[in-house]
Amino acid sequence: MIENKKYWKGIAQLNDDPVVKKLEENEFVDKLPIDKLFEENDLSTGNTSRRDFLKFLGFTTAAASLAACEAPINKVIPYVNKPEEIVPGVANYYASTIYDGHDFASVLVKTREGRPIKIESNNTCANARVQSSVLSLYDSSRLRSPMISKVESNWDSVDKDIIKKLDEIKENGGKIAILTSTIISPTIYNLIDNFKNKYGNVVHVQKDSVSSDGILDANLDYFGIRKIPTYNFEKAEIIVSFGADFLGNFPGNTDYAKQYVEGRNPKNKKMSKHYQVESNLTLTGSNADHRIQIKPSEQAGLLSQLYRYITKKSTTIDSRISTIGKSLLESNSSIVLCNSNNKEVQLIVNAINDYLKNYDRTISIRNHTNLQQGNDQDLQNLIYEMQAGQIDALITYNINPSYILPDSDNFNKAMSNVGLTISTSKYMDETSINMDYICPDSHNLESWGDFVPYNGVCTLMQPTINPLFNTRQFQDSLLKWSQNSISYNDYLKDTYKNDWENKLHDGYFDVELEKVPLKQVKNKDLLIKNFPIKKNSNNIEFCVSEKISLGDGSQANNPWLQELPDPLSRATWDNYLTISEITAKELGLRNWNVSNGALNGDIVDLTLGDVTINNVPVMIQPGQAIGTVSMAIGYGRTNAGKCGNGVGLNVYPLINGGEVVIEKVEGVHEFAATQLHHTMMGRNIVKETTLDEYIKNPASGNDHDKFLTHEGKKRANEVSLWNKHDHETGHHWNLSIDLTACIGCASCVISCHAENNVPVVGKEEIRKSRDMHWLRIDRYFSSDMTKEVAKDQNASAIDMYSKMEDPSVNPEVVFQPVMCMHCNNAPCETVCPVAATTHSAEGLNHMTYNRCVGTRYCLNNCPYKVRRFNWFQYSDNDAFDFNMNDDYGKMVLNPDVVVRSRGVMEKCTMCLHKIQELKLTAKREGRKIKDEEAQTVCASACETNALVFGDVNDKNHTVHKLRKDERSYDLLDHLNVAPSVFYQTKIRNKS
């Protein structure tokens, strides 16, 4: 019976459906349509199914990978004549100088096989822009040959033309103008003098992109010398800055950050107290102990009042600055400085410093800086003369007036009246495009030069590579046009012939101090004007700011700088109108996050006087004073090159600031910010305390989370499940980060970028949170809501946490550099399915790119989110048309570090290649590694010594002592991942 029983699969089978019968006979009813695929020319209309497509795809991939197994035939081409100093594979270092009219640094240039690949500081701070300038060397947008009327030419015909025309001008008694940025080179002054002697009627005008006329003219009146003094922040007990961003952008600030931090070492039980009185949040302001928000128009009045209070001429003082007044009077030494470009205001500052006897103690006008000497009046006169047709020839150097001048149209019109216009710009920039002859200057790294940045110090610049293009440095051009046959190199050698080799080797040397005959003004009080404090109006005031990334915009075509997140807004590839939340609400302006987390903002039209800038994106910036807005210069270039063109908006037309009208317009702006949250949400990420507390208890603020166990409360590392690695026998590399010393300047970020071939991904990718920075500097604002406040107010948890998201109106700011923590109980290592990330005996977390299959499991498991995934092939990819997609740009790549390909995870290696190199050198020389010899590039780039790297097993090493310090703590130590990177609590000098 059982055998006879029949089951049907369906009603169709029971009914003997022919389809079922056919299916029973033949499982695959239709043949695979391979023949059809090949018949059809157009795949979209063909019969090919998705499955077939995948089959072919699979086949071709397999075939391609099999074909790729064949090793390619590579050539290896040795030198014909090997230069004596080059050993292939070993870096050479040269001392040189970077100066572009805005930034100055004495540097060491690392070269490999004759290519400069990295800039390191040589006894002065090399900021992010200076470090990035090595990439600007390989900018393929640079001009490649001299040009006559925008047609490529050669030097002989250009020189012949120019000399002929200059001679004609001389014969006709015409006037020649040389317009430059501030020149700090003695030999260039000599060359200009020679040029003057040759052609007679020559005028030399200097102009800085951000004018310092106010302070210069004030010093001229007060001391009889038109120079900016140098400050010694280490010696000052009280630092009061009215808007001056001396840690970010301030003339002569190469050493200020270092001094500032040295004066704030809590170990000495003494820290300088820093007050910042400003409207937009600057890098300096974010480091201040007390920050007072004012409107730009109130500055003069407050300073005036402070002056009268200190000199006891009056006892009334604005409540906002009363503590400043008191502490200035009580202090032994102080510094007062101001960013105002108004002579009268700067005179008040001088008078305050003078009264407080700060000159020759904390401020030195004798050891003044030569940086920034531009004179706006000279330029104005030049433009008048040009308009009147009195100038017959104009030569520009290191300056882009059509971009940096507020009334650039006026300048362009005036320039059209000049018979002979010669640009020496490296780029076909906004000015050069309107000029007759372009005689491109060589890059700093291709040139010779001398500089006297400070009175008494001279630095030399030497080329580290032959000019990449057919360019010639300005000095040589001047010599040629002065019809002098000597080369500038010989000229320079001749000038510094004593001990030339040693001077060149060191890069800097002392020169005789220029004697400054200081004018003694008899009744200085007569110089001081009295400014009333303006009544608070409802008008919105505008002032420009300067980013640490782009600065004045001359390096706008540098993708590293464009992608460097602003330390405060954390936005990249953009400038925007920063506004306080309260003002934004009044104007109905919003920032909001879209579904993938990216930040969007409203757009406004900004009108100042008769200038309107349309479609300005608005960014709500905690710390921006109420009723003020601010925007960074350096953006909105039109002739910078492929990366810099059209990024952001040009606000040079508004550089003088004033009251603005803001009008909301239709549209949405998409920001690309690398950090989307503002506060720590009550967590112990950055631990901080005050100096007073620290003196009482060095471990104050450094509380560790404890867990309840059956043996009572214990720290996470006491109840570990992990087996310990053996880190005792060899080295154990540790990195200490002092949050008190970190000022957030980001030169470590660029240094890391340059050293480790970190790709640039562009705005769109950053918006998708796919930034590749191995090292980021997290910024947190304080919030008015804390757990204590919530307890007092009886606020619910939801209420508390939602309010914690909002930063204070005038927040305290902390910066925290975060890179791979090289955990010794690494969460990433345990989850990698292919063991591509492993632990080393030296306490480092290794990442093996060639082993990685890209599951991104490690990234998910990393509590610090420091791993970066290569979503695309960033090199040789037209979709990412930055330096790695450019034959010139690739020359900056470090040959000791792999260029990662698509689909692999990458992260900070703690400069493993440098460690290995150092160990090898020590082994080769048969010696131990010396103290402080091991360096990561972030640590060596850190001028404030916030980052200290070394072998924690070496009992004499600073990092060993720092590990034991009461201030040191592990980030997220409740996770017990045992990081090799640790932090020192931030200490503020607050009372």
Binding site: V76, V87, T838, T848, K923
Partner: protein, 423 residues
């Protein structure tokens, strides 16, 4: 029926193996050197006469050159060689003399026999073919296999015909070889076994192919100049580091620049193998006139475009100085007996296993050269000389304390960690 046939088949196979075995042993036996009593005498003389003080039997250079292959170097002219040993100062030879050894001819002949009898440890016939790049008289492995196959087929044919004639005599149905195979295959259990064997065979081929990917042993590309390492490093005993200057200082050993070649070739414009033809190419690169021995003014120099032999992928970091200057390895330990070769070539790990230094260091490679396994083989086996380097001092004492032994391999100090070579 089937049972009988199976028996026959196994017998055929076993017999044919025996024959092949015999054949191979005859071939190899014919290779071995005929021993005579004077080798023993030669050995005694070699040690007593002080030859050993200056010469090694292998390729290692002591005070004098290694004696391996000395006959080839003297063009197999035994009489001349004997004269040289007796009186090296004779103007006939014109090369730097060693002390005279005025021994009777027969004794020197014994020494030469002893020298000749020396074989570098376990050198197989196959390796000699590779190393010498000359046709050896011995049969190659492939040839033996071919002969064996032919013999086997002949045997099968023979036995089939015997079987068929036997069957005919008992008037059973005869069958051809193909019919036999077909019958065997159609029987079910055999099909399975056959399928299994076939599968293993295919898997093995796939595995071998995949393991061979990226293996570049014996890679010896043609080069723009027919350079001979044998002439330079072998015959003229030029130190490797003289030309590959940066091997001691840098990660790359570096291909010598043409101006380095000119240090010698300013004077030497004719070589022993290719005369002036190849050396002229250096002159073409640097712009040198060998007639006047001057550099040509304003000559546009042309770099020599060599083909890279050892190709290290971008993902791996290797440093020559680490191995040459710190570990004090000899070049031959990774590159083989370069001084006996012509152009640059990738050595095989079999060849490297014969290198005396490797034997001395106790390093035996199991993986093909230039693969990661090959690196690891050495890092596992090679002992780090920690005693003579202050860098290791502290580490060494800690390691001794921890492990209770003195010698540590590269592995113990992290030589197998990924990040040491991949970053």
């Amino acid at each position: 029926m089937a049972v009988i046939n199976k028996n026959i088949l196994t017998e055929i196979i076993s017999r044919s193996f025996f024959i092949v075995f015999l054949l191979i042993s005859v071939v190899t036996h014919s290779q071995s050197v005929t021993e005579t009593s004077s080798i023993e005498e030669g050995k005694n003389l070699f040690e007593s006469q002080g030859c050993k003080g200056c010469h090694s039997l292998g390729t290692i250079r002591k005070t004098g050159p290694g004696l391996y292959g000395v006959f080839e170097r003297w063009d197999n002219d035994e009489a001349k060689l004997i004269r040289y040993i007796q009186n090296p100062a004779d103007p006939e030879f014109g090369i730097v003399a060693m002390p005279a050894h005025p021994l009777p001819d027969n004794q020197i002949r014994s020494i030469l026999m002893y020298i000749n009898s020396y074989e570098p440890p376990v050198v197989s016939a196959e390796d000699n073919v590779v190393m010498e790049k000359t046709e050896d008289e011995s049969l190659s492995y492939e040839l033996i296999l071919l002969i064996a196959t032919v013999v086997l087929i002949l045997l099968i044919l023979l036995l089939t015909s015997v079987k068929n004639s036997l069957k005919e005599s008992v008037s059973e149905n005869t069958e051809t070889i193909f019919q036999t195979i077909r019958r065997l295959v159609t029987v079910n259990p055999n099909k399975l076994i056959l399928g299994f064997i076939l599968l293993i065979f295919v898997l093995r081929i796939v595995y071998d192919t995949l393991m061979g990917v990226g293996v570049v042993e014996k890679y010896e590309p043609a080069q723009p100049i027919q350079f001979s390492h044998k002439v330079h490093a072998g015959d003229n005993q030029i130190d490797c580091n003289y030309c590959h200057t940066s091997a001691r200082h840098s990660k790359t050993a570096s291909i010598p620049s043409a101006n380095l070649c000119m240090n010698c070739h300013t004077y030497i414009n004719e070589g022993p193998i290719s005369g002036t033809k190849e050396i002229q190419k250096i002159y073409d690169a640097v712009g040198f006139d060998p007639e006047t021995r001057t550099y040509i003014d304003g000559y546009e120099q042309k770099p020599i475009e060599w083909i890279r032999v050892h190709q290290l992928p971008d993902l791996a970091y290797f440093n020559h100085s680490q191995h040459v200057s710190v570990a004090n390895l000899e070049c031959q330990q990774c590159h083989g007996n370069v001084q006996e070769k012509g152009l640059g070539a990738v050595a095989t790990s079999e060849e490297l296993n014969q290198i005396e230094f490797n034997i001395k260091d106790g390093v035996k490679f199991d993986h093909p050269t230039l693969t990661m396994g090959w690196c690891i083989d050495c890092h596992r086996q090679k002992t780090v000389d920690m005693e003579n380097n202050d860098y290791y001092m502290e580490m060494h004492s800690k390691l001794i304390e921890k492990h209770g032994k003195e010698a540590f391999s590269v592995e113990t100090i992290g030589g197998l960690e990924c990040g040491k070579c991949h970053y």
